[in-house]
Symmetry: C2
Subunit: 122 residues, 2 copies
């Protein structure tokens, strides 16, 4: 197994808790995955693949497993053939949504401010 960092978050050294928050949400596709599960609700693996075609299968699996270890995502396996696996946010994971929405709003503000002085392509 590639054994990603797994960041024993609850044991990591940190000065302010905000660092823990960003550590938990670190990973190239993690914000996108959390946002998707927040706004769309429970999804199967294949559905997530369709929604996020730019994420390779390997990365989607890996980032979901990381989120599971960090306690943000819950994984439910139905022992059928062919297999069915559903992903959803845990309770603490769901509490991220309002904050992510504000962050989203901030980024819109940021982008419009940045492009304000740039008429054409930068």
């Amino acid at each position: 197994m590639p054994e990603d960092r797994t960041h024993k978050v609850s044991c990591s050294s940190y000065v302010y808790e905000v660092e823990v928050a960003f550590e938990i949400l670190s990973g190239k596709w993690i914000p996108l995955i959390v946002w998707t599960l927040s706004t769309e609700g429970t999804k199967r693996f294949g559905e997530l693949r369709k929604i996020m075609p730019s994420v390779t299968q390997k990365m989607l699996t890996q980032q979901l497993r990381t989120l599971e270890k960090r306690g943000i995502v819950s994984r439910k396996v139905y022992p059928e053939v062919p297999p069915v696996v559903e992903y959803s946010l845990t309770e603490i994971g769901q509490k991220l949504l309002p904050i992510l929405k504000e962050f989203n709003g901030w980024a819109k503000d940021y982008l419009s401010t940045r492009n304000a002085g740039k008429p054409s392509a930068d």
Copy 2:
């Protein structure tokens, strides 16, 4: 120059703006630096070093320059001998504080929840 990614953020491809927000705050020490400048206000380079002794000089310089390029931090140089350089948040950078506070609160909640079922060391 090591020429960090510099992520032409305003041109990066993204599906949701929230991804841009996380991209802007990406970097091992960036959340800590932004939080510090948010809560403590304008600081000189040497002061930041004292406040964050775990950050090497190279990394502090690099992450501050990255934040400057991304438009979050403002750098003011006083042409004196010895040199004086002050760092502060830009207007858009200051707007991050309330959101970072919420992340901080969420992380406290997260950490207490995680440690709830773990009496001793993890």
